[in-house]
């Protein structure tokens, strides 16, 4: 084994973790969470122990992050009889995960739309009109009532163009 090549490879892995973590931070994720996600992406098959060793974070930080990733279907776990530990795997490729996120956004906007309508109905109560803060909530609700359908339309359009693009490339949907 070429030692120099191995050092370079480890350096590349570390830098890649930093880049993926930075992308997570830019999405509003916490730094620790982003670093854990980055290691799962890069290593593929990880245990809580491996993540603790690599990140030096506490077991509860690692465990909480993995639970969140499991809840949103980014990772799945399998029990390994040999080492008696749970192993965590990435649920699909990076593109798959981003694609799923786009579908999730549609679900999110649909639920948000219902909530905004619900609050809009509550605000119709005339007894609330002169209450302090009423105008602030009303302005937010009115803006969201415009923005949500705008985003929903854009997402439908984006999905259609992606499907069209895939069709042209001849790849499976």
């Amino acid at each position: 084994m070429n030692e120099e090549a191995r050092d370079t490879f480890e350096e590349i892995q570390r830098e890649l973790v930093e880049i993926i973590a930075e992308m997570g931070y830019q999405k509003g994720r916490s730094n620790k969470f982003s670093i854990i996600v980055a290691y799962v992406y890069i290593l593929g098959d990880v245990t809580q122990k491996i993540l603790q060793d690599r990140t030096k974070f506490s077991l509860s930080t690692v465990s909480n992050a993995l639970n969140t990733l499991e809840e949103n279907d980014t990772v799945y776990k399998k029990y390994n009889q040999d080492d008696h530990q749970y192993h965590y795997f990435l649920n699909g490729t990076l593109s798959d995960i981003l694609g799923r996120n786009m579908g999730d956004f549609q679900t999110y906007f649909s639920q948000l739309s219902k909530k905004i309508q619900e609050v809009g109905e509550i605000l119709k109560d005339t007894r609330l009109y002169d209450k302090k803060g009423y105008d602030n909530i009303k302005e937010f609700v009115e803006k969201m009532a415009i923005l949500i359908p705008a985003f929903q339309n854009l997402m439908i359009k984006y999905q259609l163009s992606t499907q069209q693009h895939r069709k042209e490339e001849g790849s499976p949907k």
């Binding site: 490879f9 930075e22 999405k27 509003g28 679900t107 948000l112 302090k132 009423y134």
Partner: protein, 184 residues
């Protein structure tokens, strides 16, 4: 906005506070579940949706987070270009302001300026380094996976600016009809 008016705006009546709390909880849950956003960042950011202008002290009161947590979170919101900071005239206090709802900016979904500002260059550099040790790829555990991730990230990142540009143009056209978004 002077400080007196600003403080007046913060004290919502209980009936409205209840509506706001319910709305904030809903929005924060969604951000955590669907975007994987940090819960503390999400809650702090969401109060700007209804309050627009806030000091760190007011954010502390609204969220019950510590001064240190609020200081760190407002810094992240500034980094993400979601809020702006200014001095309250005649005081040493900072006022944080959200000019426009992040939902009105497609870049909120994919922080494109920051993605463009260096990440793709760093990824290209890593790709170059990886190419330099390709001869040893059979001996390096995980080489192919790293190579795949680098290529996938580069493809995704390169397509983001075009996609955001399309979203920006379309959203701008759509929102022009509404006086609420004249500044957009």
């Amino acid at each position: 906005m002077n400080e007196k008016n600003h403080i007046k705006q913060i004290s919502f009546d209980p009936e409205i506070l209840e509506i706001e709390e319910d709305l904030v909880n809903f929005l924060v849950d969604g951000m955590i579940k669907y975007s994987g956003r940090d819960p503390i960042l999400s809650r702090t950011m969401t109060y700007f949706f209804t309050r627009k202008n806030l000091t760190q002290k007011e954010l502390q009161k609204l969220t019950s987070y510590s001064a240190g947590t609020i200081s760190k979170t407002t810094r992240q919101l500034l980094d993400l270009n979601l809020i702006e900071k200014s001095f309250i005239p005649g005081t040493h206090k900072h006022l944080y302001r959200m000019e426009e709802l992040p939902y009105a900016k497609p870049s909120y979904l994919m922080n494109v300026e920051n993605l463009l500002g260096g990440i793709s260059v760093k990824l290209e550099n890593l790709k170059g380094k990886l190419k330099g040790i390709k001869t040893y790829q059979d001996e390096l555990d995980g080489f192919e996976k790293v190579e795949l991730i680098l290529n996938q990230l580069l493809t995704i990142i390169k397509s983001v600016p075009q996609f955001v540009e399309i979203l920006n143009t379309e959203l701008k056209g759509y929102l022009q009809k509404y006086p609420q978004f004249t500044s957009f």
